[in-house]
Symmetry: C2
Subunit: 533 residues, 2 copies
């Protein structure tokens, strides 16, 4: 074997450490890493047309594969473009490894046009950042990043790769490091929580992280059945297994007003991999903390600890042996023939295949999706964990690459989908089995609601114009087709069912524009909340 350069040694070491895919938008400073892809086999390069697609796709991949994908980013500006979705990934605790190309170390002195404070930037969105200090150090940094990315629930890591280290010959690669072991919750803690939960009060659990997958849900459901307590789930889960046959926790609603009602009157709330429930935004006349002041918040386990083991130990300690109550298969009908978010939810609930993955950035559309799909075929939902819109499409792409045998649905509001429309091209290029539903209401619909909620009274022309997407109306069929995705549009339940059924019956990319009838969102949400209570 010829002597390798730093880029080749790093790439080989990453592959040995289990990294299989790299979402890349390279530039000149990354050319050595690009060239290395041909010399070293085992890494699948996936070209994206914008770095926000790279970070979002790596997030989707990491959530499903439970191991890191790599991204390849072009200096500070490439990192900048990736950052919003890195923020979401960090909030999701997704394992990820960013390879950020930089100028040659010898070039730093010149303050060339693309020079910027890469480390300062990376530190704001990553859990771990390292600048390689030599050509040899590249491989070492890479395998350390792989290890670090699997700390606890998962971490976003970055290695800055100076171009000259990438092209300099080196003598060795770097062996993989042992994956970290997740910390377990002590018996003492479990005993203490068990006692707290049995005090006869109005107590509840709140689940987050991997506790929202089948194993954790089942243990939590056993506890709920035994003690007769409620189980909540965090509002924006990283990966949530739900549908018929699974125990269904009650999500803490996004709308603080509803969340406060939902969590009212609790004596104790035991957090299991979830953070204390707080309002997504502050509002003039609402508290930030969503539980009553009198509610005691306790923690069974942080998101980084072994949640499944902790829940199972707690269930054993409580003698909670009975299987949980689970959601029954049920697909409620659409409420009317005009297409609205509830009708879209009804059709999806009826037709979504078992074990599909749902990348959900439907925003107001989610008010229809979640209630309708409680009894749908079992599926997994990936949500916008950090509130930065524009992740739904790339997360779907990454999830599809992590699980090529599973159907992926991407449910997306039209406003957010315009953040990373370049994702469509990569979905077409890689021929991914992703069906995209665009909830088209030609508006930042959630913001009309928010404009009222913040007490902002101006609802006249100027303010409205900043929330409106109807001038011009975006033609999603044309947009998708321009990037190679077969697409169609529906404005009735029958049309939507027909098109969605067709998409479910086939493999490969597909986009359906769901033209939604205007509806009074507040009224709809209130009606759903009332029906539920």
């Amino acid at each position: 074997m010829n002597q390798q350069n730093g880029a080749e040694a790093m790439l080989a070491s990453l592959i040995n450490a289990g990294v299989e895919i790299c979402f890349a938008n390279p530039g000149t400073s990354e050319m050595q890493m690009v060239a290395a892809m041909d010399k070293i086999s085992g890494m699948r390069p996936v070209l994206v047309l914008f770095e926000g697609v790279a970070s979002g796709a790596a997030d989707g991949y990491g959530r499903i594969a439970d191991k890191p994908a790599a991204t390849m980013l072009h200096l500070g500006p490439g990192l900048s473009n990736a950052m919003a979705n890195l923020h979401n990934a960090r909030r999701a605790h997704t394992p990820m490894l960013n390879l950020i190309g930089d100028h040659a170390s010898s070039h730093a002195q010149y303050d060339a046009p693309l020079a910027s404070d890469i480390v300062g930037q990376a530190n704001t969105v990553c859990d771990w950042v390292r600048v390689a200090e030599s050509a040899e150090d590249l491989a070492r940094c890479g395998v350390e990043a792989v290890q670090q990315s699997q700390q606890g629930a998962g971490q976003v890591t970055s290695v800055v790769v100076p171009a000259d280290f990438a092209w300099t010959p080196v003598n060795q690669q770097c062996a993989p490091l042992a994956p970290p072991v997740r910390e377990t919750v002590s018996d003492k803690k479990i005993e203490a929580i068990a006692e707290q939960l049995q005090d006869g009060g109005n107590n509840a659990l709140m689940l987050g992280g991997v506790a929202l997958r089948k194993r954790g849900l089942t243990a939590a459901g056993r506890i709920a059945r035994k003690l007769g307590i409620q189980v909540f789930s965090e509002t924006f889960p990283t990966r949530w297994q739900r549908g018929a046959g699974l125990f269904q926790p009650t999500p803490v609603p996004y709308l603080a007003e509803l969340a406060i009602t939902t969590l009212k009157g609790l004596d104790k709330l035991v957090l299991v991999g979830a953070k204390a429930p707080v309002a997504f935004f502050a509002y003039p006349n609402l508290p930030g903390q969503l539980t009553d002041e009198s509610t005691e918040l306790l923690s069974l386990a942080s998101v980084d600890e072994d949640l499944d083991a902790a829940l199972e130990a707690l269930a054993e300690r409580l003698g909670a042996h009975q299987a949980p109550e689970v959601a029954q298969r049920a697909t409620p009908p659409a409420p009317r023939e005009e297409l609205c978010m509830i009708g879209v939810g009804a059709v999806i609930a009826e037709l979504m295949p078992e074990n599909c993955i749902v990348s959900e950035e439907a925003v107001t559309g989610s008010f229809g999706f979640y209630p309708m799909t409680q009894g749908a075929a079992p599926h997994e939902v990936l949500t916008v964990t950090g509130g930065a819109i524009g992740q739904g499409l790339p997360v779907a792409a990454g999830a599809a690459l992590a699980a090529p045998e599973r159907k992926v649905l991407c449910l997306h509001g039209d406003g957010g989908a315009m953040y990373t429309p370049q994702s469509l091209w990569t979905i077409a290029r890689e021929n991914l089995d992703v069906t995209i539903v665009i909830y088209k209401n030609n508006s930042y619909s959630i913001l009309n609601l928010e404009l009222m909620r913040t007490g902002a009274s101006g609802q006249a022309e100027q303010a409205r114009s900043l929330l409106d997407l109807s001038n011009p109306i975006i033609d999603w069929v044309g947009l998708a087709t321009s990037m190679g995705i077969p697409a169609s549009s529906a404005n009735t339940v029958a049309d939507f069912r027909h098109q969605f059924a067709d998409a479910m019956a086939q493999q490969g990319p597909r986009l359906i524009e769901a033209e939604l009838v205007e509806m009074d969102l507040l009224a709809a949400v209130a009606a759903m909340a009332k029906e539920k209570s």
Copy 2:
């Protein structure tokens, strides 16, 4: 008048300080600023669908208006999306004011999903960052930012706006602050430079910043004529006035190999608002500094000083009274009927109207544009100052809003245009007089060149796949049409001329996809370099 809240007082104060336009993509935390737009008149809100469009458009506006536009960004992720084009704007010394919404100060304790280190991020791309400390402080921060944005050549400034300060009532607005005065170069410095330039050596000037507008160019041209010296210009100017009737400096080429040849043999190079010429990227066997080691670098004035006055004083001191030699009207013909970047340049040179603005991100297409348009009607070019691609479209939008009476051309490579395609929607919505030419070669064409230049030898399947945009081929006509822009495609010089002439004869948005024949870039560049020397 009713009592104002912090957002209204800030908005009113900004308007009084001369800010007229705000490029916005607001979210919940910015709703008070949105609502204020209806209560206070004088600020034009322009909705963009992605924050990179906001920052790029504010850059284009600031370059043409010579005063700041505002952007309105949604917390850390909104800032993240804006950052690549903020990097370019900072490198361009564009006056700009970012209003970054943040959680209410009372909400910071909760680490809500959208919380992040906004200041840490902003510091990496802004010259000046301030977090408002109270409702009253908002207006003060705003007017200080306006003042600061006009320091020297111009600065990128940011004010972080906590939501609760925006909704809290305040008692007063804040009066505008006096605009800063640009520092002048001392007589002593001018005298010293004059003596250096007259030593009979092979000396030259290198211009940057406002020295590339007519006044500075004319003075530099007088000096060149008097002393018989060369005048160079920086590779990526912020705003360059050129064409028939103007003195034409020689741009330092992007390709380091050519730049080194261009600058070879100089004894002294006097910088006038330009930085020392350095390679855009480092390459294994090329120096970073582009001038000979023996070339002495001197500075007449930094970009922040009064360049026009300095050049005129120097010309006077040198007795350089004769008008400069200027470019003559000349429009070379296209070299062949198949469409290539040179043919596109030829047609543009022939038909571009006087006084038009060119937002140029043509990348390899620029190798055809600049040589062909030296004798075109006088025009101004805005280039990618910081190397972060994806600014051409939004800069065009901002320039068109700053100068609604002028035709704007946007010349864009297909790869870079996919970074901020959402710009098309805003151009359609605001009905801007922008003609966009997409140089379509279905490739990151420059990177094929760069792959060779870095010495990266792998040119096989994997590496090539990361530079290739042909699978699927992007349909730019469909993409533009989906966002409301009339579009057409051309693959011959005749077709392109017909379509471009039509666009020039009308007002309003238009996109032309220029399907370029494959060409050997290196050979073309070498041929042009040879012809020139």
